[in-house]
């Protein structure tokens, strides 16, 4: 039941002994303490934890946006030394550029790929807007879109340059429940058809169980990986199914146990 799928052979991404401290005015915060994690090729991993457990910091370090104090990240056995388009990030707020149209936003990353012709870039951008169901909104302005549509554009923008790894930082947190459920379906469909390696950060346990091959539990101060729950439910998964709820309840209980322990300490 806990076996990894056979297609996940090679290690796509390796986080090795990563620690990170932040100094604030009040104190020094140990955001991450000796965190290690292997992600297989094509695997969908969800990092779950309460606010302030360092999950976003971990994602930033994997993206290369933040440098770890100790430890290292390897992507395809290569040391991550800075951000790069092999590891694109989809942020919580859509982070779409308001000065560009929807199409311009999807083209932004593509234009930074020298190996593509202009025609190829345009074709890829159109394909990805179709993929997320926004083919009709190519020339819309960002402010004209709903929250869910914005996140779809962000997804298209992150996928279009064909990154090896997609990093998602609570991409659905600001959406209403119905839109979110729709996007669970879309994300699973796209993941299955594109064979991307995805790491998704969330504080929503059900979301993590719905999307992930594996749910990794983090707790804060200092940020540490506590448990690793393989999820073997068949796909596509429905967030409202009973089986999924059972898994989620179990993980939530474990999480609460750790949090109560922390308070006791």
């Amino acid at each position: 039941m806990l076996m990894a799928k056979p297609i996940m052979s090679a290690t796509k991404l390796a986080v090795q002994g990563v620690s990170k401290c932040f100094s604030t005015a009040a104190a020094i915060v140990q955001a991450l303490d000796d965190v290690s994690l292997d992600v297989a090729d094509g695997e969908f991993v969800c990092l779950v934890g309460p606010s302030g457990c360092g999950k976003t910091t971990l994602l930033d370090i994997i993206a290369g946006l933040t440098k770890p104090d100790e430890g290292r990240v390897l992507a395809d056995d290569q040391l991550v030394e800075g951000p790069g388009r092999q590891r694109l990030v989809m942020f919580q707020e859509s982070a779409l550029f308001p000065w560009l149209t929807v199409f311009g936003n999807v083209m932004f990353g593509l234009k930074l790929r020298d190996d593509l012709t202009h025609a190829a870039r345009q074709r890829i951008a159109h394909e990805h807007l179709e993929l997320v169901g926004l083919g009709k909104f190519t020339h819309s302005n960002v402010h004209e879109l709903s929250g869910g549509m914005k996140q779809r554009v962000a997804l298209a923008r992150a996928l279009a340059p064909d990154p090896r790894v997609l990093l998602m930082d609570e991409p659905l947190a600001s959406l209403d429940a119905l839109t979110r459920e729709q996007l669970y379906g879309d994300i699973q469909r796209i993941w299955a058809s594109r064979h991307k390696t995805i790491i998704l950060v969330t504080h929503n346990v059900r979301e993590a169980v719905c999307l992930g091959d594996r749910v990794i539990l983090l707790t804060g101060s200092p940020g540490r990986i506590r448990e690793n729950f393989p999820i073997s439910l068949p796909r596509p998964r429905d967030i409202n199914s009973a089986a999924l709820s059972n898994h989620a309840a179990q993980i939530t209980a474990t999480l609460k146990g750790y949090m109560a322990g922390e308070v006791a300490e």
Binding site: L88, V89, F91, L112, H143
Partner: protein, 257 residues
């Protein structure tokens, strides 16, 4: 079209009111000429070419000084927004000099450059540079850091990031900063022209000045009108396209229902 009609009626009403006040005879026509004699002056000045020439001289000075001011102020503003060193040095200098009314540069400009075009240009540049710089600095600081982060993950860095992310992201601030710079440039140039006679060209400010010397109130009011119109036209021509772009893309500028 309806808006145009409303605006026209509004201004016609003002002219009518003006005419009524003149007709009341309470003030001497020397101090308050009727609208018609102002129109007459403007028509005459238009026909003999003095008005067009003066406007051309003024606008040329304004554009040259403003353009130089923006070219200097914009990169300086980007510089102070990124570097603590430049913020503490050039940034503080700009903040200080921005509070100095640009008329105060005229005596210095006259002593340095004499009664020349360079003196005019200098005053306009000093009027523009600091406010453009401060607006750019504010704009670049205010943009959400998430834009730069998103751009970096897509492989944008250095010059590309400045020109494709930081500058467009701060466009709303840049445009209002440029507008403010424009207003300052316009004011400082008028002050300079009224203050200083320069033989290489008589601008609108000079015509205004001579109107006073000759006690020609119709000329004074007429030129003031022209200055207002030139300012309005320049504002529309220079900034309206940008503002329309901003409103369309950012979805701003919508009146509350």
């Amino acid at each position: 079209m309806r808006r145009f009609a409303v605006a026209s009626m509004f201004f016609a009403a003002i002219a009518g009111l003006w005419q009524l006040v003149v007709a009341s005879g309470r003030w001497s026509p020397m101090l308050l000429p009727p609208p018609l004699s102002v129109m007459e002056y403007l028509w005459g000045a238009l026909l003999d070419g003095s008005l067009v020439e003066a406007a051309a001289v003024t606008v040329r000075r304004l554009f040259a000084g403003y353009a130089i001011g923006v070219v200097i102020g914009l990169p300086l503003g980007l510089l102070t927004s990124t570097s603590q060193f430049f913020e503490d040095t050039i940034g503080s200098l700009a903040l200080g000099l921005q509070t100095l009314p640009s008329v105060c540069w005229i005596p210095l400009a006259l002593l340095w450059f004499g009664q020349t075009e360079s003196a005019m240009l200098f005053v306009v540049i000093m009027g523009t540079v600091w406010s453009v710089m401060i607006a750019t600095d504010t704009g670049a600081r205010t943009i959400s850091p998430i834009y730069a982060r998103a751009a970096r993950t897509m492989g944008s860095e250095g010059f590309h990031q400045w020109t494709r992310v930081i500058l467009p992201a701060s466009l709303p601030f840049l445009v209002s900063g440029m507008k403010q710079g424009w207003a300052f440039a316009w004011r400082s140039l008028m002050a300079a022209e009224i203050y200083v006679t320069i033989l290489t060209g008589f601008g609108l400010g000079h015509l205004l000045h001579y109107g006073r010397e000759l006690n020609a109130m119709d000329q004074v009011i007429g030129i003031m009108l022209v200055i207002v119109v030139v300012g309005l036209l320049a504002d529309k021509a220079l900034f309206s396209p940008w503002e329309r772009f901003l409103h369309r893309r950012w979805g701003t500028g919508v009146r509350p229902a």
